[in-house]
Amino acid sequence: MARLTRCLLALLVLMPLLAQAGGIEVRRFEDPVLEQRYDSLTATLRCPKCQNQAIGDSDSPIAGDMRDRVYRQLQDGRSDKEILDFMVRRFGDYVLYNPRLEGRTLLLWGLPAALVLVGALLVALVVRARRRASARRLTAEERARLDALIKPERTE
């Protein structure tokens, strides 16, 4: 198969493995909603054969087969979740660009949210401390030190 040999060749000559988008097909949809769902499903399913492409962007035969399945199942009235489950049963979680929330992805989804909370807390703490610092009056000794520090800069 040309694709495979090309990949092998690529590995041998160590060239950058760039892949162009593909997968231009003419499909008929009676219902624009179905077409939208088709577009979004083919954009969120990852081609298992390719480097890093959605099945909607790939010329690889397996991506074409998967698009076919998505199309047929949409026509059969399956829900998005049913179609995604169907693909995961065969190809694993790897084909989901949108990882599901489960034990092992808790950190993935949770950390950013946790960081926002920690960040908010941090800002609150820092600003509180800084407010106190700005409210505090300088002692005479501190003022003298400050003047000494500032003066050389002024003469610059």
Binding site: M1, L4, T5, C47, P48, K49, S60, P61, I62, D65, R69, V88, R89, R90, F91, G92, D93, Y94
Partner: protein
């Protein structure tokens, strides 16, 4: 002191990440297990490559540990893999082929030229069985236990050393 420890945090974070990256160097991101591991072999009803009038189904795999190899005439790696499959057949492993996305003439010519280690070949011209198996390229090899459950999956080329080091031990493991 507490603050000093806080300042160490970035270093700790980086070292953890670095450890993972180091481990990542020896992993192959393309090496993925089949999603069907420990699941029954998907049901199918297809004719054989040898005899268009004979229809077979998943019961074909029952009763004995079987190595199912998905191949096609269009697949250059399948040619390179053939000697290893013939070797496995010689060592008494039962092999069933799935001729994937092929034509009957080309598939038969392929076996005539490179040898036929398979007891029988399931003819899958549209790749439907392959799709059910989650195959995304050829060759791929599945080990099915006597109850018809998928126990081992090999993506891509079976190297000569894999025969004795990987495949045969797996076969032995699932034999009664």
């Amino acid at each position: 002191m507490k603050r000093r420890l806080l300042l160490l945090l970035p270093l700790v974070g980086f070292l953890v990440l670095g450890g993972f990256l180091y481990q990542g160097l020896s992993m192959n991101p393309f090496d993925r297990d089949s999603a069907l591991m420990a699941d029954p072999f998907p049901s199918f009803a297809l004719t054989t490559l040898e005899d268009p009038s004979r229809t077979v189904d998943e019961s074909l795999l029952a009763g004995e540990v079987t190595l199912v190899n998905v191949w096609g005439e269009w697949c250059p790696t399948c040619k390179q893999e053939m000697p290893q499959l013939l070797d496995l057949a010689d060592r008494g492993v039962r092999l069933v082929g799935v001729d994937y996305k092929d034509t009957r003439e080309k598939g038969r010519a392929f076996l005539a030229e490179f040898g036929n280690p398979f007891e029988v070949n399931v003819f899958d011209p549209d790749g439907d069985l392959g799709f059910e198996l989650g195959v995304y390229g050829a060759p791929e090899t599945f080990l099915v236990d006597p109850e018809g459950v998928i126990r081992y999956h090999h993506t891509g080329y079976i190297k000569p050393e894999d025969v004795t080091q990987v495949i045969l031990p797996e076969v032995e493991k699932w034999r009664d």
